[in-house]
Amino acid sequence: MHRQRLVFHVDMDSFYVSVERLLNPDLVGKPVVVGGPPNSRGVVASASYEARAFGVRSAMPCSQAYRLCPQLVFVGSGFGVYSEYSRRIGDVLRTFTPLVQMASQDEAYLDMSGTERLWGDPEASARSIKTRLREDTGLPCTVGASSSRTVSKIASAHAKPDGLLWVRPGGERGFLAPLDAGRLPGIGAKTQTRLRELGIRTLGDIQRVGRVECRRLFGDHGASLWDRASGIDDNAVEPDTGPPKQVSHETTFAEDISDSGELSRRIAALSDKVASRLRAQDLTAFTVGIKFRYADFETHGASRTLENPTNDPSVLRDEARGLLAEKRDPRRPLRLIGVAASGLVGGGEGQMDMLSAERDERRERLWKAVDALRGKYGEDAVERGG
């Protein structure tokens, strides 16, 4: 018997700002952003709805946000606090279904199929989730519910803030049709431009183009574009078990950097931190990636897959440096750089190395000491010299 699938997308409303308001109720009702300060070079991590009214958006440079809204309050409690709230959100959600996938710190997909007997119809269960989250964490959220991840995500975005929207089975196409094509998650700037050139503005326009034509225009990606624009999305909710998919660290410089020696040093420091987190979870990574952003915000990424998984900072560092040297235009200064490790496997798995035993023993002692210091005094307690 075919069981109707039911997927919730639970999205916290301006999560970082909401957490800040819990910690400091004076911020309620004011335009607030997490990020900054205004003269810094960071970007807005989260903006309150009052700030959004001024045109302030996530990922906007803090200086620009300040220009748009001079009375803006800049706050930031550090990510440890947010992680703690994120963990508590996950704990609450898992009391409704074990199939919870945290898509980021402040949003999650829940597979609620077959829970009607327990929690009532989708509207009732979504309401229960909202109430429980508010009671247990003090945070507001919006829930989108439908038969698929894509539609639920669009539904929650549509119903924000503090909302609830259930798109009933069979109603997906009709719900999506009038919405702007850019609302579909995962549509890149390139596809959007191409869609505009073709006169395609809404998801309904995509539906009318037809699947065959979409594939002709955009390749395989086009077929999936049409599917999702029509509310067809079989992607399962993948509960967060096992190791994380990626470990990364990035830094925005106080001043733009073009000196490659200085960039190399920054990469070494980031690689150390990534390696340290990999070791803490007994993971090794097959893939090393970098991210870099030029002064004009143009952002690039690159990655390389290694023959052997590693959590050795010197390997991560060398690969990341190599990638940067290969991909970066040395004439253009950078404002941000990041190092990521993905393709993660358990530290014990994989091709063994007969030579690693002796050096690992030496290094492991060193890293254990470094990790211990970092655990005690914070991530920046130990930095690589020179």
């Binding site: 097959f286 052997n308 010197s314 390997v315 060398d318 393709g343 358990g346 014990g348 798995e349 994989g350 091709q351 063994m352 190395d353 007969m354 030579l355 690693s356 035993a357 002796e358």
Partner: protein, 360 residues
């Protein structure tokens, strides 16, 4: 010949060129990448005074290859360019000043010996596959060359596989216990000119090594750094000893490899009752199960390997009758061959969280 001199990876423009030095009835061609120099001397008839100039290596190699076979090539230094001609063809190539060409200052050799071309070729063939393509441990990018007890021993390893072979020498001049690491790139080049006859003069110094084959001289800086202690990682005792036929075994490994995981190309070998069972699995593709007979009557043992490394290792032997000595599923496995007692290979297994496909 000119193609041997060709060197890549240059920052100095003149390094894309060969130095040509003509004097006293000899034309000397030199190519360098700064780490090594290759010199080739050929007899030449000289008109006028001695000449010294540089020419683009790749172009020279290409044009010489296109000249009629056996034709005499005439080079005329015309100041700033060189005319190169055979009977009916003529090139004019732009030259760069010879004075800019890096000078090689040779070290004194502490050890000198001679080895047959055939022997040296066998050593290179037997070990070079074990060099890493790339490794941040720079010393591993070369092969360890040692003289000891009147033997010449060569070792290469990337940590996953190791190969070591020795041949006996007739005579060693100077320090009898020489030791140096020579880049795999140089050995690969050298290998191309080694034939069945004749010998190679080898010189080993503190910082440099040289290989002289007839009129060709390779001189290179040795790779500095501490080469790992390989003796320490080669197990001496093995509870599981298998004897196998290489060709059958390779074929089975290749079959299993079809559905191995891309990432580490792992296949699982289970030895029991005079047979080896091969299994493999790739998520989203499928599984394999096959069997070949081997000589083995010990307790069952299961080990996972990268099938490509296994095949490369088996291929490094000059004979198909191979002994596979296993210490445990997570220890270095040693391969030997009766016909080549001075050759030993080590292959590291793959550690799997669960050895069985499907994970049940």
């Amino acid at each position: 010949m000119a193609s041997l001199l060709k060197r890549s990876q240059t920052t100095l423009p003149v390094l894309s060129n060969l130095l040509v030095d003509a004097a006293d009835g000899t034309a000397t061609f030199v190519g360098t990448d700064l780490e090594s120099h290759v010199t080739v001397r050929v007899p030449a008839q000289l008109k006028g005074g001695p000449a010294r100039l540089t020419l683009p290596a790749d172009k020279l190699a290409e044009l010489v290859g296109l000249m009629p076979a056996g034709s005499n090539i005439v080079m005329n230094d015309e100041g700033g360019q060189v005319r190169i001609s055979s009977t009916a063809n003529e090139y004019r190539l732009v030259t760069l000043p010879a004075d800019d060409y890096p000078v090689w200052s040779p070290d004194d050799a502490a050890t000198t010996f001679s080895v047959t071309q055939r022997q040296l070729r066998r050593l290179i063939d037997a070990v070079l596959y074990a060099l890493p393509a790339k490794d941040h441990r720079r010393v591993l990018m070369g092969a360890l060359i040692e003289t000891k007890d009147m033997n010449l021993r060569m070792t290469a390893t990337d940590g996953k596989k190791l190969s070591r072979m020795s041949v006996s020498l007739g005579e060693i001049e100077g320090d009898k216990n020489a030791r140096c690491v020579v880049s795999g790139k140089l050995l690969t080049d050298l290998r191309k000119i080694l034939g069945d006859e004749g010998s190679v003069q080898v010189e080993i110094g503190e910082r440099q090594a040289a290989f002289i084959v007839d009129n060709v001289e390779y001189r290179t800086n040795v790779i500095e750094g501490k080469y790992p202690d390989c003796d320490a990682v080669i197990p001496k005792e093995f509870p599981f000893a298998v004897r196998l036929n290489r060709e059958q075994f390779k074929l089975a490994a290749r079959r299993a490899g079809v559905v191995s995981e891309d990432r580490n190309k792992s296949i699982i070998l289970k030895f029991a009752d005079n047979s080896c069972e091969f299994t493999s699995m790739a998520a989203d593709i499928g599984t394999f199960n096959g069997k070949v007979s081997v000589e083995y009557d010990g307790n069952p043992i299961e080990v996972a390997f990268n099938y490509q490394l296994m095949i490369e290792t088996l291929d490094s032997f000059g004979h198909p009758d191979i002994h596979l000595n296993i210490k445990s599923e997570q220890s270095p496995t040693v391969l030997r061959c009766d016909a080549e007692p001075d050759h030993i290979c080590v292959l590291m297994p793959i550690k799997l969280t669960d050895l069985r496909p499907g994970g049940e």
